[in-house]
Symmetry: C2
Subunit: 298 residues, 2 copies
């Protein structure tokens, strides 16, 4: 299987899109017509899982030719217990069948032998194309993921600087050498990616950097030209496309941007058919990002 | 439900034991008599799940009156896919039915709204007594877990200093104020636990500190007298009971110690019936730790 970064950034070119759609199912936000089909969903995890299957499969259909990838958020599937975990696994296949890459947003991290089981669970068994990884354990906790990036065309995105307000408490701590903790992690990420750089010049080991930190995005872009970015938090806390200019390289690539609720539940703002609203929202996001990254409207 | 730290340290007194048994199922290490029951296990995740159910239920029976808690390692259950996740949920109930507390070793961490889904998944839906949490996101990523510690008798153990060799890469980074990153996290852990201190003087927010770092265990014990420790890595890399003296307070409590493979697969060293071997190994560990913590043999 070809290099993950090549597949991801190849899809960016093929679809003129930097859009990743996050799959964060939340019953209370679902469109009425979907909720009405499953009146007992809140009392029965199996019915709730069926409800999410119907909703999310329609989401995949709605965005398949607009988004480059989807990002199932494991927490919302685990909260349904075993049936929810099974739905996550099914959605990986359903998304890939529709030509979408899948970034499993699992944020796993552990010591080496256990990290290997996590890598197996998400990249081999569930079969995602990439997974998000927490850097706290250092190199030996990341190695099982790297092995699959080097040998099996898989990718990882390491949490470098997260979008939430208290990310500063640990990630921004000032080190004696003048850097911050997140800067040190970004260096590790670059090193981890050295052996899996694709033909397009980017590594299969990327960094998660929140859209809420535009200056950090820009400085990390310059400092680590081979590290692709996964940028969450789009649309939240005022982080629109204009703030993300610095995430992209001079060719207008090197980053993909995630939006979850703004796309999934777009009908709440836009009205009308919820599938069309999700599709329109994803396409508006695509155009806005393309314009910022390429200086032209797509 | 009563305070988690009171339940945990109450169990230490009631059982004269600091032992936690980690549930890390690995087919290649299973006793022959168990493997022989499931000849197709490696080709069928459902049969492998059944195999682990039989093995781990017998483990629970073998150690129920010796260990204070069991620690299912989520990675090994996720690696089986949906049936494995279901087995994890069942084992939580089976362990509690046998009088064991359950610490879900999930090492989850995310932004607030997603962290809430993880807390719901493991503490509410699966129903574990406590869960391990990654501190990388800071306070807002921990808050949903704290809410359940304060209001529902649940506990969390935050990864302060892990047992693996490359834990130093991030956790030991030197800060401008003279501390290390792990020291700063230990302070946050103490603060997070302030509102859920039990009658025995310990908080329901504990710290994971690897047995491979005896000096750090001792200095953190002195610096944070209200923080209970979960100590993994026992028996690994030469970290025996003697090295753990500093983990305990003057009363010989305040810490529990995990062993996974050395107990589960004790038959490989000890021979004989594998259940008796696991039980004997757990009891030897119990006695060794009790002697170190209390200065007497239990």
């Amino acid at each position: 299987m070809s290099n993950f970064a090549d597949r991801l950034l190849g899809a960016v070119e093929a679809k003129s899109s930097h859009v990743v759609v996050g799959l964060d199912p939340d019953f209370t936000l679902l469109p009425g017509p979907v909720r009405d089909l499953f009146p007992g969903a809140l009392a029965d995890p199996f019915e709730l899982t069926e409800c999410y299957r119907v909703f999310l499969t329609d989401v995949l259909d709605a965005v398949a030719d607009i988004a480059v990838a989807v990002k199932p958020q494991l927490a919302y599937f685990e909260a349904l217990g075993s049936p929810g975990y099974g739905l996550y696994e099914e959605l990986v296949s359903e998304a890939q069948y529709r030509g979408l890459l899948v970034i499993a947003d699992a944020k796993r991290g552990d010591i080496g032998s256990t990290a290997d089981a996590y890598a197996r669970a998400h990249l081999d068994v569930a079969g995602a194309d990439a997974v998000t990884v927490n850097p706290w354990f250092g190199t030996d906790g990341v190695e099982p993921f790297l092995e699959r990036a080097r040998a099996h065309g898989k990718g990882i995105f390491v949490l470098v600087k997260t979008s939430n307000p208290s990310s500063s408490e640990i990630q921004d701590l000032a080190l004696v050498d003048g850097r911050r903790v997140s800067g040190r992690v970004a260096e590790l990420v670059e090193r981890w990616g050295e052996d899996c750089i694709g033909d397009l010049g980017y590594a299969s080991v990327g960094a998660v950097v929140g859209a809420t930190h535009p200056e950090e995005l820009a400085s990390l872009r310059v400092a680590h030209p081979e590290t692709p970015f996964l940028v969450p938090g789009y649309g939240a806390q005022g982080a629109g496309a204009d703030h993300l200019r610095g995430a992209f390289d001079k060719a207008g690539t090197g980053a993909v941007v995630n939006s979850s609720r703004a796309v999934l539940y777009a009908y709440r703002e836009r009205g009308g058919d919820w599938r069309k609203a999700a599709r329109a929202e994803a396409d508006d996001m695509r155009r806005a990002l393309w314009a910022v990254a390429r200086g032209v409207t797509g």
